[in-house]
């Protein structure tokens, strides 16, 4: 299954990952700036705020990650918690 000498993929190079990051940030900026060009026909007033969807997406995700993390503090257990899962491994 394992190759004796794994050839490096271009994605393994940190330099290329950095390019990807820059590209990503440029696209992010473009999607927000696109609002200046296209009219968004907002249904709700809140939608009309500049960059609303970008900010809302980011904040909603941050809140969900923090919320999940907080729930995890209470509910996380080692994955051997249910004894039967041990018998399989």
């Amino acid at each position: 299954m394992k190759n004796p000498a794994p050839r490096t993929h271009w994605l393994d190079e940190p330099k290329h990952v950095q390019w990807l990051w820059r590209g990503f940030i440029a696209v992010l900026a473009l999607t927000v700036l696109a609002e200046l060009v296209f009219s968004l026909h907002p249904t709700f007033q809140i939608e009309g705020w500049f960059g609303f969807h970008a900010a809302f997406g980011f904040i909603a995700c941050a809140l969900m990650i923090i919320g999940a993390k907080a729930m995890g503090l209470l509910l996380k257990r080692p994955d051997t918690f249910y004894a039967e899962d041990r018998t399989d491994e």
Partner: protein
Amino acid sequence: MSNSLVLHPAFVLIVSALALSVMRGKGRNAVILLAPIFAMIALWLLPEGKLWEVDWLDYHLTPLAVDKLSRLFASIFALMTFAGGLFALRRNSRLEIPAAFLYAGAAIGVVLAGDLVTVFVFWEIMAVGSTLVIWSANTTSAWKASLRYAMIHLAGGVVLFAGVTGHLLATGDATFSRMQPDSIAHWLILVGFLINAGAPPLSAWLPDAYPSASWSGMVFLSAFTTKTAVYVLLRGFPGTELLIWVGLFMVFYGIVFALLENDMRRILAYSIVNQVGFMVVGIGIGTELALNGAAAHAFTHIIYKALLLMSAGAVLAATGRSKCSELGGLFHSMPLTTICGTIGALSISSFPLTSGFISKSMISQAAADGHLQTVWLLLAAASAGVFLHAGIKFPWFVFFQKDSGLRPSDPPASMRWAMLLFAFLCVALGVWPEELYALLPYPVDYVPYTAAHVVTQLQLLLFSGLAFFVMLDYLKRTPTITLDVDWFWRVAYPSAARQAAAHWENLCARVTADVSVKAVTVRSFIARHRQPDGLLVRSWPTRSMAMWVMVMLLAYLFLYYLGR
């Protein structure tokens, strides 16, 4: 009886399931691939309307009825059976595919049923078929999970049966048509439907049971049970406002638990609940656009979720691992699986040019049209959350992130073709949505590709992606599970039952000790009188009998004279 000679597509699959259970080799493979195609042809040869009608007891049943909604669901089920069969072709189990075909046939039976009795019968066959699919993974945990799964679904079946019986008693009409939750019977029917949809409070049956199936079994499981539930809700309870809130709960429940999960297939299982939540919200909103959206989303969801699970199944089959903490870097050696998995991930996230974009947006648009601002905002947040937990998290931790050093190769041809077929459909439906829109139950005048929609969706998703990578430290995988409500029936209930049993035994012992002394006395008393020579049992000589009769007659005579 106005039965015309037509072939019921469900029976095509059920009969082939029975045949497959004894078949081997090339013949078996041919039946696996051809039976779903025959079922699809049989389905499309059916005209619309009530095709089979039977009088049974006092009820008028319609075991086969076709309209646009049922044809849409039956079509995607047949398509799913084909792709699932192709993917599972090399799976080394004699039980799994026959069970899956029985399961798929029963699901088609439900959606083509015109009355509640037929719905119930196929509903139960589906429970049996799906339990067998889980069971056929042939591990201890799958066996136990299949028992828990069967328990929940049989309980759900009992609730549904009670509801159907109540409905029949109250109305005398078995037709499966629109209902309101206005009587106990209808509530029971609604609850029975919702249990199969993965709705709270029992949602945990889904992420508990499905991931214990084999690498190919879970592909089948992801499609039928929850989507037949969506279908029956669409037909039975459109516009029931409660469903909006039930659906929103499912959406966020799925996201939060998937974010905490380490096992890639459990992530995808939670994501099924999440996606079905969107459909349930659409059914709750209940406008034509919303119902079209729910139906379209069920159609596209089956394809991309199966695709995601095929890519996960390919990884599991090749590496034997499914925990994100033990995977990573697989793009090096599984390029095709990575690409197909990523297409599935983009589709579930509703990226423009994929199938999710043209279906989920109909539900959001229906919320906006109805001026349901809270619902709309929550759906938008949830769309962002889908990208977070399924769109990026799944491909990132499985195919990219740190290099696990594993170098498995792409799966064999049958699995590759199944993935390619569904990856193609994900993109094709996203690019040419009109074909799907034409199949929807109501006429569609919704245009998904407007500049505003594309721009806002890209903003929402790409900034969610930014949040994922910025907060990656918070999402690091640990070898943990998260307790869910299945804890109640896996830990709390068994231990309570064990304690109760211990108490009961204690009590019995104490009572026996206390009572035994008295019991001995009573017993000896009874024995004295009732044993063969006892006072009340032994036979009496005839002469003493005669003497006592004479004594009594004399006494009677004496008293008679005394009385005069």
